[in-house]
């Protein structure tokens, strides 16, 4: 029996008895970041493949949500900071060792990019749209001309953004649950799946709806594979990681994780996507709501469970 008592009564606020430094803003920020990354990724992908006309929801309509998502995300990040007047310090330094730093910079690249993307596609939403000044018209013409280049920058930066939403956690080896490189690809997949579900819902044609239902199905499969991998890795690792995994295998996060994230957020939408592809009339709003719900719950659970997992010495 080993017992550890802190005699001097260390009770530092938000640190003891267990870490609670990150509340809802961080998982929310990572969720909207992931969703934005997913939508932009497919917008760029379909443009690069020259399929703009077939996949209008992916390339033209869904990206209009992205700037709002990113602004909400940056707002949440700001709310999370304890020393708000010094917020600008984040943008006077670039530290590649710090995911918080390069992630914030990635957002700074992706946000204007998404606004430019909306600007060059606004003519499809308002066919009579005219830019007011000559210089704006020239700028618009310039961006339209370089649409392909923008799409390439966007596909790369949105992938980085998607991976970052997982790496922010996995870079912390102090929290055994987070300290796994699988979180990067897993959160990227979760963001892509959320993006695909939104596009499938917004899709105007049968082709677009079914293509994105297929894509979503494929990504959910990858996610489930990565989750199995995650737990295999934990269980074959050191004692602290075995204990971290036990939070989900009998511990307090077992029910929320397996029921909300895996079953409702992945398995059920996968079945719905499958039925839809088989020709059953499934409203695409259903898988979308479930995937988004699963994706946001996943990030909340990982954020909170990770803070509860620690080294004992």
């Amino acid at each position: 029996m080993r017992e550890e008592i802190i005699v001097s009564g260390r009770m530092n606020h938000l640190i003891d008895p267990y870490l609670q430094i990150w509340h809802w803003p961080i998982p929310f920020y990572l969720f909207v970041g992931g969703l934005a990354a997913g939508i932009l990724f497919f917008a760029a992908l379909m443009t690069i493949r020259g399929k703009e006309e077939q996949y209008t929801a992916a390339t033209r309509y869904a990206p209009f949500i992205v700037p709002f998502l990113l602004v909400l995300g940056l707002g949440a990040l700001f709310i999370d900071l304890n020393h708000k007047p010094y917020f600008w310090r984040l943008y006077t330094t670039l530290r590649l060792e710090s995911p918080m730093s390069w992630g914030a910079w990635t957002l700074m690249v992706v946000t204007p990019l998404s606004i430019i993307w909306c600007a060059i596609n606004i003519r499809y939403i308002f066919p009579k749209w005219q830019w007011p000044y000559e210089w704006l018209k020239n700028l618009d013409a310039f961006f339209v001309k370089h649409k392909m280049t923008i799409a390439w920058v966007m596909i790369i930066s949105s992938t980085i953004l998607g991976i970052y939403t997982g790496i922010l956690f996995s870079a912390f080896n102090a929290r055994p649950l987070w300290n796994t490189s699988i979180l990067g690809p897993l959160f990227l997949a979760s963001g892509l799946s959320a993006g695909a579900a939104v596009i499938a819902f917004m899709g105007k044609t049968h082709l677009e709806k079914t293509t994105f239902a297929k894509i979503d199905l494929l990504i959910i499969g990858i996610e489930l594979f990565l989750i199995i991998h995650l737990f295999m890795g934990f269980l074959a690792s050191s004692q602290v990681q075995i204990e971290a995994a036990s939070l989900f295998l009998g511990g307090e996060y077992t029910a929320p994780f397996w029921i909300f994230v895996v079953f409702l957020g992945m398995v059920v939408p996968a079945i719905l996507d499958f039925l839809e592809l088989r020709g059953y009339p499934i409203p695409t709003v259903l898988p979308m709501i479930l995937v988004l719900f699963g994706s946001i719950t996943f990030r909340f659970i990982i954020a909170f469970a990770g803070q509860a997992s620690r080294y004992l010495y």
């Binding site: 001097s8 430094i21 304890n82 530290r95």
Partner: protein, 177 residues
């Protein structure tokens, strides 16, 4: 120069004088502490073993808190001391989450706070407050690069351990066992 501290777990009686001295010296906000005392009981009754440790930031030489800080507020100062520059810190909490020892806390003013090895006293040639008040003289502080310093000599002579070395932080706080 490489500052380090060695704490004798066989001499420490867990009086918490070091905790109070630090709170007074560094004006630590009420309800918080930069150092604390841990009592560990091991074994099954009646074969019990007791270890008392006065703990604080380990001033790790491979510090994850410095690595993950987005602004450079957390940094290495002279002698490897890990410090936080308050007016560079945005209070993002990344360093708090990255420390396996939970040695940092959010100061009510917004920035992050932690043990400084009493850097301001070192500059005046004094020892850290905790070291200078300890009634059992169980703490040794000095420069590890100097083979004749108190801390170098005691580490050479005695058996010691560091905390969670497997976390890869290379801690510079030695516990004599």
């Amino acid at each position: 120069m490489r500052y380090a501290m060695a704490i004798d777990t066989k001499k420490c009686v867990g009086c918490s004088d070091c905790v109070v001295a630090c709170q007074t010296e560094n004006n630590v906000p009420i309800g918080y502490c930069r150092d604390w005392v841990v009592e560990v009981t091991d074994g099954t009754y009646p074969q019990l073993e007791l270890e008392i440790r006065s703990e604080r930031c380990n001033h790790c030489s491979n510090a994850p808190c410095v690595r993950c800080c987005p602004t450079g507020a957390s940094h290495y100062a002279e002698g490897g001391i890990v410090l936080v520059t308050a007016n560079k810190c945005i209070g993002c909490g990344a360093c708090i989450a990255s420390c396996p020892y939970d040695a940092r806390f959010p100061h009510p003013d917004g920035h992050v706070d932690k043990c400084t090895y009493c850097n301001h006293r070192l500059l005046e040639g004094l020892k850290p407050a905790c070291v200078s008040v300890c009634p059992t003289k169980c703490m040794y502080f000095g420069d590890l690069d100097d083979p004749n310093s108190e801390v170098s000599r005691i580490i050479k002579k005695r058996k010691w351990k560091t905390l969670i070395p497997e976390a890869g932080t290379s801690p510079e706080l030695y516990f004599l066992i």
